[in-house]
């Protein structure tokens, strides 16, 4: 067993309490630990990604308890990709937050590390109940992060966020109980073996359990009609937190890919491809709602929020097809949309702080510091978010359109994607011209009293925007990687053998 696999969970789990206990009153020390821990996590996950890129599925049996009995972590290409993406985003966001946002409340860095622990655990775990536990860890931390900075709006929105996720957790437990009651196991690989063996009389219950799980993941992924919590929560959260939450909706997409390909996938007998009929319509509705939301937005933050909702819809369109090329397209778009979404939230904050009274509202305001630089970054992230050439949003959308073309209802789906993109284009063009051009037309010179130059903040956004640029430049290697990931995902046999086969090996070494 390679012990590095558990480091992405252990490292934040140790750093977070250390920050609370040792660096409680010293923001500078908290920042140092937060940034160093995130950078170390980035290094570890990059190593794990490299390790997983040989195509092997590596199980990690905690406490050396063999697979279906003990809790197991599994590193494969998909989990390694998600870990790396999370670590990159976390490092950028924590550096951005260290420019001042982490002073608006207490324990930002500790909560941030706990959130990382939950995310990494959720991506690594090979056990459905353990997935629930890590979901709770990341949710508990996210409640704290979402409320960071307090204020009436955050508290009222936070209340709704906590309430809907508590209801979601209850549903998760009902689903887990149902599935355990029918199969007698919660290990994902073991479930993949046992689900086809469920007798016909229990099939309806099994499908119910699977559908309940889908509802839970749809809440996490903010799919229509379960998206209602997202605009309020992300809009009210502090900008670095909202930017980091861009990965949270992807947790839903990851969980759907994992559970509905491995457990309720092709090998599940009568429960095969359980999620397929529900996901496509919900995804199309989400996409449309998000893009109409972009069109209707009156603040930059709301623009970012609805662009994120729309990107989830686009992503789920590809996920919902449940085949190999579609999953490859989905993964490419997932990486792209995480960077594009996060960049928009941080940009909204940079712009709002410079505009003083006008904030992030889309109204004409006097010119502000670093206008040209911010306008350029906004232009790039808008291109990425809308999906225009030459950035990776365009390539991702082309890939998704390509896989949708094989569907019987492809005309409708294409229309949804293309009309949605048009709406987003209009929304972003209007926002950009109001923010960066109208002010020049209104008043001649910048106000001298608000020259806020923060290089680190701009660099953070520039790194995030560089994501789609690099993804477009190196689209070939990136797609080779996502193709290989999708191929591995859609050969669950290898996963099952790696996890359950290790039971035999371990049993052999026992005295």
């Amino acid at each position: 067993m390679n012990h590095w696999i558990i480091v992405p969970v252990i490292l934040p789990a140790l750093v977070a309490p250390f920050i609370v206990a040792a660096a409680r009153y010293d923001v500078l020390l908290q920042r140092v630990f937060g940034i160093v821990a995130s950078a170390a996590l980035l290094a570890v996950t990059a190593g794990l990604y490299w390790l997983a890129s040989d195509g092997m599925v590596r199980p990690y049996a905690l406490g050396n308890w063999p697979a279906p009995f003990g809790i197991i972590l599994v590193l494969d290409r998909l989990s390694a990709l998600m870990l790396l993406l999370t670590a990159v985003l976390a490092t950028v966001v924590v550096i951005y937050a260290a420019q001042g946002w982490d002073r608006r409340g207490r324990h930002f860095h500790a909560l941030f590390q706990f959130q990382l622990m939950g995310l990494n655990g959720a991506f690594l775990t090979g056990d459905v109940f353990n997935l629930f536990v890590f979901f709770e860890v990341l949710l508990i931390a996210s409640y704290g992060l979402m409320l960071h900075g307090a204020g009436v709006r955050r508290i009222t929105e936070g209340l709704k966020y906590v309430a809907i996720n508590l209801a979601g957790s209850t549903l998760f437990l009902f689903a887990v109980g149902l599935i355990y009651g029918l199969t007698g196991t919660l290990n994902m690989a073991d479930l993949a073996v046992k689900v086809p063996l469920v007798p016909e009389s229990d099939l309806a219950l099994l499908r119910l359990g699977g559908a309940l799980l889908l509802i839970v993941f749809a809440i996490k992924g903010a799919l229509v009609p379960l998206h209602l919590w997202l605009p309020g929560t992300y809009g009210a959260a502090s900008p670095p937190v909202a930017a980091f939450f861009a990965i949270m909706t992807k947790v839903g997409a990851y969980a759907i890919l994992r559970v509905y390909v491995l457990i309720f996938g092709g090998g599940a007998g009568a429960a095969s491809w359980l999620a397929e009929p529900y996901l496509l319509p919900a995804a199309a509705a989400t996409l449309m709602l998000g893009m109409v939301g972009v069109l209707a937005s009156r603040t930059v933050t709301s623009l970012a929020v609805y662009a994120l909702v729309g990107s989830v819809g686009t992503l789920m369109l590809a996920v919902g097809l449940f085949d190999e090329p579609a999953a490859s397209a989905a993964l490419y778009y997932l990486v792209h949309s995480t960077f594009a979404g996060a960049a928009l939230f941080l940009l909204a904050d940079l712009v709002a702080r410079r505009r003083g009274g006008a904030g992030d509202r889309l109204v004409a305001a006097p010119p502000f510091a670093q206008l040209d630089l911010l306008a350029g970054l906004f232009f790039l992230s808008a291109i990425a978010a809308v999906g225009l050439p030459p950035l990776s949003g365009f390539i991702g959308k082309i890939l998704i359109l390509q896989v949708l073309a094989d569907q019987p209802c492809w005309v409708t789906l294409w229309a949804v994607v293309l009309v949605g993109s048009l709406f987003a284009l209009i929304g972003f063009a209007r926002a950009g011209s109001v923010l960066f051009w109208k002010c020049l037309a209104d008043q001649g010179r910048p106000e001298p009293d608000r020259p806020t130059h923060d290089t680190a903040g701009l660099c953070a956004v520039a790194v995030l925007v560089a994501g789609p640029v690099l993804l477009a430049l190196f689209a070939g290697p990136a797609m080779t990687a996502t193709d290989a990931t999708a191929r591995q995902l859609f050969t669950p046999q290898r996963y099952i053998e790696a996890v359950l086969g290790s039971r035999v090996d371990l049993a052999g070494t026992l005295p």
């Binding site: 009436v152 709006r153 209340l159 508590l166 009156r298 709301s302």
Partner: protein
């Protein structure tokens, strides 16, 4: 016994759902508590209902009850208990800051309009 446990879970879930859909925070908190009680009993029952059997290996045992759901339920209880406490604190804080305990907070004031 099965009928009693099943209807207990059913009634608690129904009560929970009704209360969660109320507009004040206090009934919502109560409703979520009812839901978590219901799901805890339900998870427990998923190991099948037996009376007086040990969960741990012993030489004199006639049979066993499934220990796994008991472990799951323990985790679920801790998590839902902690979450409910957080929710209560949030609801209180929201009430103190807005003067109302409506779940939409200060709906209609300029701050909520984007």
């Amino acid at each position: 016994m099965e009928l009693l446990v099943a209807s207990g879970v059913g009634v608690a879930t129904a009560v929970g759902i009704y209360l969660v859909l109320r507009a004040q925070t206090f009934p919502v908190v109560l409703g979520l508590t009812f839901l978590s009680y219901a799901v805890n009993v339900y998870l427990f029952a998923m190991g099948r209902l037996v009376v007086g059997l040990p969960p741990i290996v012993s030489k004199t045992a006639q049979g066993y009850t499934d220990p796994l759901p008991q472990a799951l339920v323990l985790t679920a209880i801790v998590i839902s208990f902690g979450m409910t406490a957080l929710l209560v604190v949030l609801a209180l804080r929201g009430y103190l800051e807005t003067g109302r305990d409506h779940v939409d907070g200060v709906a209609g004031t300029p701050e909520d309009v984007p």
